[in-house]
Symmetry: C2
Subunit: 326 residues, 2 copies
DNA sequence: CTGAAAGCGCTTACAG
DNA sequence: CTGAAAGCGCTTACAG
């Protein structure tokens, strides 16, 4: 059924070891035999069995990527960029979708069973036993766009707090006096940090503000804004913890004929493609996905090369993208 | 990982084969020895090595999923549903992103190297050699939401032609006389079939129509509509080959203050979440993702159980979702 | 540079 | 029910 190295060897008239050498780089093979082997392999449609290889080298070229919020276009974009970057390096992506807030045990066991070379966790939370399992097996782990206080990991994100501060300063300069922050899920580091930076500046200026708890979803932004409107006083600006909520804010405002940016202003976070669509034209904070991905890949590859388990918090700076909602 | 079946066998005072039997299941082992073995395994922290296992059984629990258009929310949704369904069955997803229109050679080789149990191809096209490779290796293949004329595969999609017909009839009943179809990439089966059903009915009613070639992207819908407007005569309806293009159509119309549905109507295709957002409120054709996924999984599992290579075109019917753009 | 052979950790006929 | 042994398809010392 499957074509193996022996078949190729027979056709090429060499030993199976030589076939192996051709496909496992680094070994010295005559150009002539290499060509013979490659021709035979081509003819038979041979591809080395990665499992047999992994059995010996105890390594795989698979990176586990754990993701939850696939409805926010930010994350598919992240997935795509990781897939492309790792493909360049010969690595594949084992995609794990977690429905729950916390990564499930079976997700981890899938990653462990297949001995992934590394794990990237995006918008899912992780508990202690997860990290133990990975550490025990010396599997490098990166938290992408998330941090945890309790444990030490390597995390890559943007400078959320500084961004929150800049956004506050920007809105104040625009003449805003009372503002609303619409949070993501309350236990996510990104939402907390953006809020902290934002409110720090408002406090320093002794300006009133209010937080509404939401959940990073369009519906969340929409419903929350309806609630704000129903309470009677429209703030001079809304800062939503991500773009997709900001869209919900804008649509709710539009429904109530509240003019943006004249009557109130809206700022999002992420700068996903849609922020540039004419219907939204959203002022937002750009998360530098490419740079964040590059940084993650760099760490991953160095830890795969030689595992150190080193931790750290890398913050890639983003920038304010000014459009028509402010 | 250091601990293998031999270590467990030694500690339990049995043979390595017996340890294997305990963990592989289905084999007959005395309750007494089973307990001994499990105790020893527990003590040592043993987990069977999946690579060694796969090497013999020639099976993996990995499904390859090939995807291109991650910018259309339809596809992340599809990815998520597949990930969840296959997780239930103990399968993981090897995610392959293809940038180009055609699947790249290295993508295939990644799937073959890891001996995936099956392959699902969504919105990427595939050439002959790809299919040969999978057939040679008896790897079941499903085209999800795509078909090809040339070769025979198992494909799962919705009944695009019938949907196109229904949409035409619906718009005619609404009083539309001249209509525009905005196509996706011209060589995709979905766009071609939707168009054919749509135009068939218009021709039968001897109504004028026009096709504009686009690319399934928001920008494509937007720019195309700008072009239509600049040509001077606004059709009585636009049918866009997918929702995301329809959003572009709506935004372009809004920019030119052309009232929908009064001055012209717009219909999309897919019924992605966003179609329900208040800013669009798009009349569209619902693609029954869950049913399509279920059907794909069913075929996949039966082919994994026993490979037959059987082909077929399964069409899961969808339905018109009427909202505010018609 | 190349081949013969050992072995990675497992499953699975084949005996007993 | 259980053990000894033959492989699965590869990598990698070890010779030549």
């Amino acid at each position: 059924m499957g074509i193996n190295a022996k078949d190729v060897a027979r056709l090429a008239g060499v030993s199976q070891s030589t076939v192996s050498r051709v496909f496992f780089g680094g070994a010295s093979v005559t150009e002539k035999t290499r060509k013979k082997v490659l021709a035979a392999a081509e003819e038979l449609g041979y591809t080395p069995n990665e499992f047999a290889r992994s059995l010996i080298t105890n390594k795989t070229n698979i990176i586990g990527l754990v993701m939850k919020g696939v409805k926010n276009p930010f994350y598919p974009q992240v997935l795509k960029e990781f897939a492309l970057e790792f493909k360049k390096l010969g690595y594949g992506i084992l995609f794990v979708h977690t429905n729950n807030y916390e990564i499930e045990k079976e997700d981890i066991s899938m990653l462990l069973k297949y001995n992934v070379a590394g794990v990237i966790i995006t918008d899912a939370a992780l508990s202690l036993y997860v990290t133990e399992d990975f550490k025990k097996n010396q599997i490098p782990l990166v938290l992408f766009n998330r941090k945890t206080e309790k444990q030490d990991f390597y995390s890559v994100g943007t400078n959320n707090m500084a961004a929150g501060r800049k956004i506050a300063e920007y809105l104040i300069a625009k003449g805003c006096t009372d503002m609303v922050y619409i949070s993501g899920e309350r236990n996510t580091s990104t939402s907390i940090e953006r809020e902290k930076g934002f409110f720090d500046v408002l406090e320093k200026h002794q300006l009133p503000y209010k937080r509404y708890d939401s959940d990073f979803s369009y519906q969340g932004g929409y419903e929350t804004t309806k609630k704000v409107i129903s309470e009677g006083n429209i703030p001079s600006a809304f800062f939503a913890a991500n773009d997709i909520m900001a869209f919900g804010v804008l649509d709710a405002l539009r429904e109530h004929s509240i003019a943006v940016p004249e009557e109130t202003k809206v700022v999002g976070f992420d700068n996903i493609d849609m922020a540039n669509w004419p219907t939204y034209n959203l002022t937002t904070w750009e998360q530098p996905i490419s740079d964040m991905v590059q940084e993650t890949v760099k760490y991953m590859m160095s830890e795969i090369e030689e595992y150190t388990g080193r931790t750290g918090k890398v913050k890639i700076p983003g920038q304010l993208i000014e459009r028509k909602t402010t």
